[in-house]
Symmetry: C2
Amino acid sequence: MQTLVIGLGSMGFGAAVSCFRNGISTIGFDLNPDALERFKTAGGQTVKSLDSITNVDCVLIFVVNASQAESVLFESQLLSGLNPTAVIINCVTLAPSKAIEIASRITNRGFQYIDAPVSGGAAKALEGRMSIMASASPQTMAKAKPVLDAISEHIFELGKDAGQGSQMKLINQLLAGIHIAATAEAMNLAAGLKMDLHQVIDVISKCAGSSWMFENRGPHIADGDYTPLSSVNIFVKDLGIVTQEATQQNIVTPLSEAALILYKRASESGFGSEDDCAIVKVLAKQSDIKLPGSST
Amino acid sequence: MQTLVIGLGSMGFGAAVSCFRNGISTIGFDLNPDALERFKTAGGQTVKSLDSITNVDCVLIFVVNASQAESVLFESQLLSGLNPTAVIINCVTLAPSKAIEIASRITNRGFQYIDAPVSGGAAKALEGRMSIMASASPQTMAKAKPVLDAISEHIFELGKDAGQGSQMKLINQLLAGIHIAATAEAMNLAAGLKMDLHQVIDVISKCAGSSWMFENRGPHIADGDYTPLSSVNIFVKDLGIVTQEATQQNIVTPLSEAALILYKRASESGFGSEDDCAIVKVLAKQSDIKLPGSST
């Protein structure tokens, strides 16, 4: 199963490495020469242009957003280099309506498509332990199983239609984005009340106020460490998708909108490439509070 | 250690029962005759007026809010019926500034005070397994230990000063209140997208979007069951305390404010005594979505 991984950022790199570690013949592609070089150094095979690939059975897409996904799929010669029944596994977080549209263009060309957004972060990607929220026909899922197994710990099979995987990812990002903002708001208030932030994490983690994000991102704020594991700009994009998709359906999402304002302000203030919990800096500035690690 | 429990609602009833089950001589009081009768039926001793009590060593306060706490403490003859070094354990969720004010009035009369808001819900209260976020001097904590041990599984000792326990509860309620609203927003969007709500809970519980409240309240919404375990009105009060306390300190809390609007609207719409996740009904109405268990 000749596999091509497009996009060798934090998630795509981990997926590509997991593929060849599991004995799958794997080629990596990225527009960024540094990303290509890093994959080569890790022992991976690379290609410099999508126009020169041939005989590919499976494509894993790990680019940043919908427009990049459409560009690699439809503005290159990629599809001409695929074998006739190739499977395209699209792991990009997309609006469900966009996933349906892309799937339709792919299947109209005779290829198979899996709507397959992922969750888990760079560390889990590198261990081949992502979670995949997948929707596709059982036959397509079966064909792609070796590749999916190589990169993931959990495969949630959410239905046969494109869009169903992306819907679940949308719900996850709504919650994750709000929970990071809630963590920031709680830690900023605690800092303003001169509380011991590490004690706050210890106690709240054992109480009903806890969340996966609170336990994961809270320590970043208490330590003043904004090294990006997942960046502010990811949630500018993903909560943007949530609120747009909801608005199109006339569904109200007031907390997502309140959280999105924080991510946008943080991005506009120059924190877009920092860890997503750097939105706390926006709250701290508005509240005139000094956070751990802050010089002002 | 003669102990008096004031307020025999869901939490106070559980605490009072836990006390006498642990061999502590316990009297219960509530203004509501039904609550008194229920405690008697459970084997508890009761008193009909706070003005008639004598020789009390320890008071546990489980009334609904600050004004009720001030009323029982300062507008009755309660303090005259206490032994000179009695300990008052105030388990009511209060603004930290209010906890400090009440503590000061109590200690000025020579009594000891523990700022001791609790977490855990009625079921845990009945099992003597609440969590207590306590602050008081080590001597006072030691004196009250038999009573605290009888009612709790975790005792977090957060400092020697009144207000420190209430600050931690404030942070917990900020997070809990936002997370219930996030759960409501996520489930409403999922319902609008025609997703299987039980599948959403199964998948998200294993992903980074999860929270204690999502896992606990999500099933209520998926089942359409709004039997109150903790009510909408509790969060009208508690997020009110969060936003007021933050505002007094010039600290911004945009997500708490967005969530508080939902709790207030739900209360105004007649859902105040339903389970707190009934705020989803406000979102569903605004979005014209039919939720499980809804007739419209």
